[in-house]
């Protein structure tokens, strides 16, 4: 593993963050457009240990909360949990398999949306069900597709693994 590979990894993550703030608004309905920011978090967490993954999730979550102050803390909680769980999930299903990664992206997005919806308490009853079964499922699917596409195109750059020594 070359030293430059690690920089390439960060380069890809930075690219995903930029995509989130630039291209995402052009990809149709905001409720179903792929979440590149969460994808960047998941890309990191499936290669890192649970501790740093939780911290990364928390940081991204609290930053997202700053953009939606009404449900402050909900994103931090959701991203922390998703970061921690995805890191563990990758450890359990350890395999550089495209399908496994896709499932983690899908599940991570859906669980994040579930926790945010429940923690913020803004949706209840039928709207909550519709949000989780409809919009959230679609967004998870598109996020997973985007993640798989990134892995297909830039998979070699992302084949690094960060864990505590």
């Amino acid at each position: 593993m070359r030293r430059t590979d690690k920089y390439r990894f960060w380069f890809v993550l930075a690219g995903l963050v930029l995509l989130h703030f630039s291209v995402r608004t052009k990809l149709g309905d905001e409720r179903v457009a792929p979440d590149f920011l969460l994808l960047a978090v998941l890309m990191y967490t499936i290669r890192a240990a649970p501790g740093p993954s939780s911290a990364a999730g928390f940081l991204v979550g609290i930053i997202r909360d700053a953009m939606s102050p009404a449900s402050f803390g909900a994103n931090a909680l959701a991203h922390t949990l998703v970061g921690y769980l995805s890191s563990w999930a990758k450890a359990v299903f350890f395999a550089e398999n495209l399908f496994v990664n896709g499932c983690i992206f899908f599940g991570g997005t859906w669980i994040r949306n579930l926790i945010v919806a429940l923690a913020s308490g803004e949706l209840k009853g039928a709207p909550l069900a519709w949000q989780l079964l409809g919009w959230s499922t679609l967004q998870s699917l598109f996020t997973a597709l985007a993640g798989v596409l990134v892995l297909l195109v830039l998979g070699r750059w992302l084949s690094v693994r960060f864990t505590d020594a």
Partner: protein
Amino acid sequence: MTIEAERYGSRADTFVFLGCLALSITAMSVPDSWRRPFSQALRQTVLAPFLTLQEETETLKSSKAHVEAVTSQRDSAMLAATFLPELRSENARLRTLLGLGARLQTGYVPAEVLHESVPTDPLTFLVSAGKRDGVKALDAVVSPEGLVGVVSAVDEKTSVVATWAHPEFRAAAMAADGSVYGIVAPHGSEGPGIWMLELQGVPYRSVVPESTLIVSSGLGGVIPRGIPLGTVVGQGVDNEHWERTYLIRPAVHPASVTHVMIITGATAGGGNLRDLFQAEAKSP
């Protein structure tokens, strides 16, 4: 951090996770007065470049939509503008028609030419006035420029007008100064000549100069006296039997008419309408 390490789930990881979890729950429970300054600080520092990027992207997106809207509006305006000269022309024609109506005062019926959307006989047309408006067969049909034709058939609400280009059209005519009398008829039955008139039956000794205005003479009582028919543009080629024929450029082309007046009775001009039309002929 190192690469390719295999140890997972150390105690430190658990502490970090629990710490983050606790911070998240704390963030959810802090009062609104604490959240706002914190969120604001994040938006103005860490998030500032990203929000700017997002804003620029939104601006770009809306600009594109704006350009498309402006282009669409411009295309619509251009399409509308193509009809502008025609509308101006019609407006001017209606104004002159109103002027003529004011001078005629009585004895006329205004009517709209009902253009057909399918190919039809160009020598006749339909107008929106009929028997119930007092229109009769052989009534003269005029526009501000002069004679358009005569009514050939009348229905309850509409009438058929035979224009001066119709092969059966004839009108007793004279020079505007009354020096020459004759009969005006269509110049030909086909080709470009169909849209010209000719003054027939002029005595051989009488010479009519070019640009002489030819008006109806009122002989026969069908077409009132003094309605312009056209102006002389030259002498016809068929001069025989000691008479002359003159080529006349019609005062009005049937295709340019959208509204007409049908003379149904006595008008303000009495027996001679010449003054009414002469005033009109001078206007552009």
